[in-house]
Structures are given as C-alpha cells and as structure tokens.
Symmetry: C2
Subunit: 155 residues, 2 copies
C-alpha cells in the first residue's frame, strides 16, 4: 500500500474517534518529512466552536509544534474534502500538499462548491490528490443515518 | 452617525491595536442585541497561528461567551473584506449579518476573489453591508508602505 494511503488511514482513525463521541466523523493529520506532526478530529459540538473542524485543528496544532504559521513542506490528510473555511486555512498556512478521500457536495471547496485550488485568482498553489477509502464514506453514511433516525424519533 | 458605522469604528480601534504590534491592521467585533460580545485583532504573527485573523478570533470568542457554535442573531463587523477562510467561518457559525469596510483584492471572499454570499450553491444566506471608512484603508496603506520600506532596507 502506498504511503499516502497509509497516512489517510491514520486520518481515518481520527474520524472514528469523532464518531464515537457523536461528532460528524471527519479526521485529519499533518505529515512533514514522513512523520505525523499533528492529528485531530472534528470537535465542533463538544467544543461548541464553529472553527473546530478536523483539518483546522490539525493545522493549528502543527503550527504550534513548529512554532510557525508557515507549513511549507507539510501534507494535510483529510478523510473528507475540506470545506471553504478549511481551504482558506490551507491558503493561510501555505500547506503545499493535500490528500483527501470523500467529496462533500454541501460544503467542499476543492471539487464540489468551488475549485479553489484550480482557480488562478487564488494566490496559492497546492498539489491535490484524491484516494477513495470506502470505510471513510461508510462511516459518514452510518453517522447521518443514525442522526436522521434520532431526529425522526424526536419529531 | 448610524449604529453600524459606530460599531465599525469599534472594530477600527481593534485594527489600531494590531498596527501597534506590527500585525496587519485588521480588527473585528461581534454584536448581538446591540451589545458588543467580542472584540479581536489580527494576531497571526504574534501567535504564529495561520487561523488568527481578527474575524475568526472574534467569532471563536463570541461562541465561547454564548457557549454555542451557532451565532444566529449576531453581526460581524470587520475593517476589511473577510478572506475565504473567514467567509467559511461565517458559514460555519451561521452569523446572519456582516458589515465591512475595505475590499481585499488578494484574499477577499465577498466581492474580490469570490462572491461567496451571492452564490446560490452556498448553503447560508447573509445580509452584507459595506461602509467605507477612510481611516481603515489608510491604516492598511501605512502598514504596507512601512513593510515595503523595511524589506527594501534589508535587501
């Protein structure tokens, strides 16, 4: 199995932690020089923080570790297509590689709502790679199915 | 002077704090029920945190105060057009009003790079108002002029 796939499976481990805690199951890690320097999962509900997406938290933690807002040479692995906010953080942090798995038709900024990193007007170039991992998508489907059922039982 | 203008001048006070500390001079406040519930200025360099834009920090602080990621009923005042990241945080936090002053041709997501809140594909509607404040723009110009001169003297 290629290295990018293995690292994406590490991000999936984070997504599973989110699932267990009742958060939308999305996980992310940051890798530099083949080492994982930060790991995070979505904690929006637990923290009641609209910025607490897995990708943003992983980027913040990587910056803290490296003591730099510039994350050149880093790769972000995310189980889901980053939203507009997280694409913005990628721009701000100058991350130069992104590997993700499942598209997000409602919020995604890479291929769904926008194609931010293909647009010439955006002042940051990024290598983007997509590796589909069935389990990452199934985890999301299971989460939203359970959520719909809970909503229905409360209605 | 109308209330929105007065609140924008409060955001300008924050921008001036950033200027004094050598940060790009951008300030933001959040208002709910005519009361300021959070204030912040850009602290990207000081914190070495790529997410530490004035708008994002103000939103995080408002969520902390209200103990909710949902900021319905809140207005964000920013001295500058929010970037893609900060537009994303506005979406995530469901803020329903934005008042800003100076356009940002390099990073702005409202009227410059994108028109995020006019795009039907984006799942959040927002009232956007623009009030030009000369001092907010002059503060930025002065900051970037000094930065260029410093860079030139180091070259």
């Amino acid at each position: 199995m290629e290295l990018d796939h293995l690292f994406l499976l590490e991000a999936l481990k984070e997504a599973k932690k989110a699932f267990k805690l009742g958060e939308v199951p999305i996980g992310a890690i940051i890798v530099k020089d083949r080492k994982i320097i930060s790991r995070a999962f979505n904690r929006k509900e637990f923290l009641q923080d609209p910025t607490a997406h897995a990708e943003l938290l992983a980027i913040k933690e990587a910056s803290r570790k490296l003591n730099s807002w510039r994350l050149n040479g880093c790769t972000l692995y995310s189980t889901v297509e980053p939203c507009i906010m997280c694409c913005g953080v990628i721009i701000q942090s100058r991350i130069d590689r992104l590997v993700y798995s499942v598209p997000d038709p409602k919020f995604g900024g890479i291929e769904s709502l926008y194609t931010i990193f293909k647009d010439k007007k955006v002042n940051h170039r990024l290598e983007v790679k997509k590796i589909y991992i069935k389990e990452a998508e199934e985890l999301l489907k299971e989460f939203f199915k359970a959520l719909r059922e809970r909503c229905r039982s409360l209605a």
